[in-house]
Symmetry: C2
């Protein structure tokens, strides 16, 4: 992934404390999953258990001095600076939203054919109540012309910096961002932890988490997308026949939303489960990007010959404005008394999209958007 050598220890000297229950995928930069059973324990993931996805070291920011620069590029370019105190003058808003890495469940796609990227299992998604102010309100205050938004982008730049001094940056289409993006200072009622962007983070509900830029330092409204490596050379969509040699990044669609997905979190693959009264209890999550709401989660213990609709635990937000994940549970009947069973899960969202059964036809070089049925095998005890 990384194009720059980050091996200097000095560079990583200020990393924050992390909860020991997180499952570390890489230490520098810090990338860690939440364990599956803890994932389904809480609708809003406790801050210390929220999965962590970093590209660089965590910047050490003095909240009282932090400034957000907003630039609206145009005939006469407008620039304004905001302290956190300035931002608090805007109307406070909250949104309940899951953030999911576009690479969540990459390890399953990797089994079809190797892909490049962090080997995430199902733990690169968590859910929180985010609080702050609306990007829209701040941009209107800065004099944004809301008549001409269709070919514009919001470039978001963080304070995290690689060894060459390049800051993390990506962008979103302005139209999407005006509808949904929060400038968040709080997560589940507490100030953002350092790993999640203290003191200020963009939260782009329904989009891959990479667009929710942490340690937010500047916002630029432009006719151009972000020119950063992370935006131009990553998080783009390709078909299974595209190779690293044939991939044409500039014309490939940037990933600004996420397809419907689901996972079984409890039991875990390979566990031994006690059968009670011919049934086993199964729990997990489901999620769909772009504001879609999960409408149904179906679970099968017979390779899709029969499906049982799970009980859903959901946020109240309506379809098209639904950004939270869905937790689900099912009491699954077993035929006979097998020693082992394979469990499948698939979800249907409010656009009635479902998941593909297999990864083959959604396979892509970067291993993103890996949303086929989740299938696990468990051993049974009677």
């Amino acid at each position: 992934d990384d194009v720059v050598d980050h091996s200097d220890d000095e560079f990583w000297a200020k990393e924050p404390y992390r909860d020991k229950r997180l499952i570390i995928k890489t230490a520098k930069p810090f990338n860690a999953e939440i364990p599956p059973k803890l994932q389904v324990e809480h609708f809003n993931t406790p801050n210390e258990l929220f999965y962590v996805r970093q590209h660089m070291p965590v910047p050490d920011i003095n909240e009282n001095e932090h400034k957000l620069t907003v630039t609206i590029v145009g005939k006469t370019t407008k620039v304004k600076e905001f302290t956190l105190k300035d931002l608090r003058k805007f109307k406070p808003v909250s949104v309940n939203a899951a953030l999911m890495c576009a690479g969540n469940r990459r390890s399953e796609m990797n089994k079809v054919k190797p892909v490049k990227g962090l080997s995430w299992t199902t733990g690169a998604i968590s859910n929180a109540e985010w609080s702050g102010v609306l990007l829209r309100d701040v941009l209107l205050h800065c004099g944004l012309d809301t008549e001409n938004i269709d070919d514009k982008h919001v470039i978001l730049t963080g304070a995290d910096t690689d060894a060459t001094g390049t800051q993390f940056s990506t962008s979103l289409p302005l139209r999407d961002a005006l509808d949904t993006v929060l400038l968040a200072t709080h997560m589940n009622g507490a100030p953002l932890p350092p790993d999640h962007g203290r003191p200020l983070r963009a939260v782009a509900p329904g989009a891959p988490a990479v667009r929710s830029v942490k340690w937010l330092q500047s916002i630029t409204i432009s006719t151009e997308e972000s020119s950063s490596h992370w935006h131009q050379r990553d998080y783009r969509s390709f078909n299974p026949s595209t190779t690293w040699e044939t991939a044409d990044f500039p014309t490939a669609p940037p990933v600004y939303s996420l397809p419907v997905t689901s996972a079984i979190c409890d039991p875990e693959d390979g566990e031994t489960v006690t059968v009670e009264d011919g049934h086993i209890e199964v729990r997990g999550y489901a999620y769909s990007g772009g504001g879609a709401r999960v409408l149904r989660v179906d679970v099968s213990a017979d390779g899709g010959a029969s499906w049982r609709a799970a009980r859903l635990r959901q946020h109240a937000a309506p379809p098209a404005r639904h950004f939270a994940w869905t937790l689900w549970s099912a009491r699954l009947p077993l035929a006979g008394a097998p020693a082992q069973v394979e469990i499948w899960v698939k979800a249907t969202d409010s656009n009635f999209n479902t998941q593909p059964e297999k990864f083959n036809d959604i396979w892509n070089i970067r291993g993103i958007l890996s949303n086929a049925y989740h299938k696990i095998k468990v051993n049974l005890k009677y």
Copy 2:
């Protein structure tokens, strides 16, 4: 489908003239597909070739006398009537949108296991430029309180009537409808033909066509969904294990959007195609509901072992506001010189949802939302 006996000839005496090229599925009520090759001939389907889906006879309406009644149910219920002349005082708007029957491609799902409904092939979708006024503007004029819209519905009732005198009716969530619904008087620049709702039709872009109520006579804003048979006992989503005996219609999600789909229109299944220079030309459509835009169409001639991205012909509307279909074409390379080839197509939309490969796991008693890969076999000539 029909619960009422419509066999009386008198009842059907005023049916309009229909283009002879339409492929009739049922004569009374008139249901007809557009032939596949004509489907891809025009981005905006000529009005006379637009597929037709009726539940009852076409009502014969005098435009000059037609009135739309708008009722906002509340502590003090508000009622207003509009002639077509009154409606013309609102700001004129147009939207380019495909309308697709929720049962489009039912015949393919039916092959897995029989379903109930009209045996549509791939021809129950067409595209048009619709013109009229915004439902939103009319409701604001009628004093709609836009603060409390989340648990409300827009009940749309047509002038079409069954043999017992019951008028066709269905509803949409108010939040969705305020964003998108048009009260249309024109289709591709001409007054609506009788088969498409003359003189006034609701057009609900991104929703199954059944919500785009023709011969619109009344609009009611209510905390209740439509109580009609068509709304309560049809167009709801079930999993493959739900039977007519176990189906619980009141708790099943009404279908208000449509998943991503695609079809090959030229050649047709079973046709003989000439191979030129080791390639064949393939054309078709793709579509996704809820405002999603099709981002890529992939075609395979080797059972998914390799995929070729098609050229796309699209409307300019951005994702989340994209309601038109996409026409596509591909020059597909063939390995060797086979006598027959199976061609597969699948589309990916702006939420990165894709189609399931097979119908098995999306099968449902009513045969709706039938969006697996379209697969055809053609004979090859050299």
